[in-house]
Amino acid sequence: MPTIFIDNKPYEVKEGQNVLHAAVSHGLNLPYFCWHPALGSVGSCRQCAVQCFKDENDTQGRMVMSCMTPATEGSRFSIEHPNAKSFRADVIEWMMINHPHDCPVCDEGGECHLQDMTVMTGHNKRRYRFKKRTFKNQNLGPNIHHEMNRCITCYRCVRFYRDVAGGEDLHAFSSADNAYFGRFEDGALESEFSGNLVEVCPTGVFTDKIFRASYTRKWDLQTAPSICQQCSLGCNMSPGERLGKIRRIQNRFNPDINGYFLCDKGRFGHQWVNNTPLPTKPISEITWPLNDDKSQVIGIASPKASLEANYALRKLVGAENFYDAQPKGDYLLAERVLEILEQYPETASVEDVRQADLVLVLGEDLTKTAPMLALAIRQNLYRHWQEKADKSKIPAWDDLAVRNAEHELPDVLYMVHNAPTKLDGLVSQRMSLDFEQISDWIPRIRAAKNPVIIAGTSLKSRPLIDLSKELRALAPQAKLCYVLPEVNSMGLALLKPKSLSDLKSPGVEAISLEPSLKSDVMAKVGDFALIDAFESELSKRAAIAFGCASFAESTGTVINNEGRAQRYYSVFERENKRPESWRILRDLGGFSWQNIDELCGDMGREFPVFEPFFAKAHHADFRVHGERISRQTLVASGRTAVNTHLSMHEPTPRVDQDSPLAYSMEGYHGDMPPDLASSYWRPGWNSVQALNALSHAPSGVKLLRRRSV
């Protein structure tokens, strides 16, 4: 850990960090634009200038760009030096020459990096007397809004979109003062990671179009830490709610999984939470249409429902009546995957994929089944290019030279697949699904230092899964990574359900849990009760339909594809609050759990595998300085007027029984336990860039352990 001196104060920095990264991660106010922790430094915006000194006797110093200067032991810098300060002020003044007078109508306003940096450098008046340069905007599809006038040409968008995410339809056009970032013609952006442009862009050139339709400022959104429900990777995200509607989703930094980015499915696929809710009645008012003897009723579990809901169902109907709704093939594969992972529990996280020197993909089209893994592979290759360029003494910022330095692809991605995938351009060796020549690859796998073997259930192929196990047996240093169908597939598998295809007595009455059931599954059972959040085909056929809270309104645990247990917290409560599905099942079964911690206590005793997570998860009575953690920001607005058209009485905020978070602006706002932080803010940093000063990040708990034989 080298020590550097900034304004004569010593700071410990990480090995290999540049001065800018070191300064912002210590919470110092040093403005920058083109640097991004995941994109690296290019030194083009000239905003992060600092004065650099030879030693403590050097009073003159020289100006350097902090993002291009490695933080080496004993080096001395000054942020406050008048030279550097006036230089930075000049730079921002140039940038603002053409920046439009848009902030009141700009969606970035209030969480704009450019606003923060302008305030930080003290620029407040445009002295330039000439007209502003303007651009025509493009229609970039249903997700991204384009407002090119606001651009400050930091090039972050194309560096992310082209260099990291591998997109090809976003370009930098024209030159000099007229540089333009867009497509050749109007049209939706093709990359499935285009949504990250919203967060990567330091100002309002790319903004969230779905959010725009019901726009609210960042400070008015009620947020809670949540887990993406779209695939089995369990990316961390924070949905924002106002007035009972989910407005947008933002990335929540988790270095092990999604890092700084989210896929478009996760970021933009949230409006279903605002669908018509399935109404509910108190249990006492419902006449139970099914057999009163609950042991005669089977339970149909769901890999989309939380661990708690599935456990409550299992408790209600008993282990022998606990069935998995997935088709037989999926069910068996999940069972097999679990069996393998109990033998080889060292699963690969997304970060492991980013760092691997060999990635073997067995029959998965990752861009479709687990997009963030595809991005991880792209990031991995980009890292390889840069490492090679380093050897050729090509600086990392010279992107084109970096890519041209090595004409051949890095020997990283090996793929077994028949169909074309979006990763094809990066594959160095390929094999068809019958993998007859797999033995040719074995020496390469054995030679690799940290290879990752990715397989999955999307092709419903048992041989591929078995192949992954065999390869793992041959290469003990390899890590396995299985892509599963749903967000909680792993959690459900750990609860050991039976397959519905094995149901002995068709026509039996059933209780079915939450979404994702295909209607044909229900053909096997007779009358059934359904617990679901929204109206659907199935809810109309059910003998009785219980409306339950969706993931955004409830707290629960999901276990991702690598066996990592993570908790999502309810973001809001609807006006007509619907109980969590486990509360409905509790009432049906007459269990005594008052909150999620009591249920998890029972579950931990019955399934010790979950115990490490429940021991670490924050219980509902967790407090920081005696306070709950606030879901709203300190400046959340309109509290005394939002409901006055309905009633003059201001309701007290509801109390969350299951989590230490409060539905209110009252509560703790300071340095959060990482698992409970859902928005990033510190004084002077209102944009997502505030996360660069985070000292720690959420991790969840990896549950899988080697089964003792």
Binding site: P100, S214, T640, A641
Partner: protein
């Protein structure tokens, strides 16, 4: 002792002076134009709504009595879908007017807004919107902003060049 008697005499003398009280409902007070009374939403010189639903007034409001929901017309002009002020909470501090970047929200010298029902103190947008520009006649935000709206395409605003032709080599 003497000073006490002096004090008594002084106060007694005041009994013969003319009261300074203004007899309010009969004599109307003269209020300055910048008096902080009833809040209105004004229109720009073109007669369109000035408010762009930027949420700054609601954010700065110390009693949180302003609730807004933004929306857009088909040309991209942003305006408030709902703009509600709960005057039973308002403290007439004027911070909203100070925060307003478009001079839309203004306080007026009208304080006679007592009601018998609390519900009547809640003013919706149609109650707040007046038909003129209020205290600041000239300003028109959308003419100086960079966004394009109906009737003003990109580059047609005040102090704006025509849009750059990015396919040209001449720049």
């Amino acid at each position: 002792m003497v000073s006490l008697l002096k004090g008594l005499w002084l106060v007694f003398k005041h009994a013969f002076k003319k009261p300074v009280t203004e007899q309010y409902p009969e004599e109307k007070p003269k209020l300055a134009p910048r008096y902080r009374g009833r809040i209105v939403l004004t229109r720009d010189p073109d007669g369109a709504e000035r408010c762009v639903a930027c949420y700054l007034c609601s954010a700065v409001c110390p009693v949180d009595c302003i609730a807004i929901q933004a929306t857009e017309d088909e040309t991209g002009r942003r305006y408030p879908e709902t703009f509600r002020i709960n005057f039973s909470r308002c403290i007439y501090c004027g911070l909203c007017e100070e925060a307003c970047p478009t001079e839309a929200i203004q306080l007026t010298p009208d304080f006679e807004m007592a009601e018998y029902k609390r519900e009547n103190m809640v003013y919706e947008k149609e109650h707040l919107l007046i038909s003129g520009p209020g205290k600041y006649p000239g300003y028109n935000f959308y003419r100086v902003a960079g966004v394009s709206i109906g009737g003003k395409d990109t580059g047609e605003g005040i102090e704006e060049e025509k849009p750059v032709d990015i396919r040209s080599l001449m720049s």
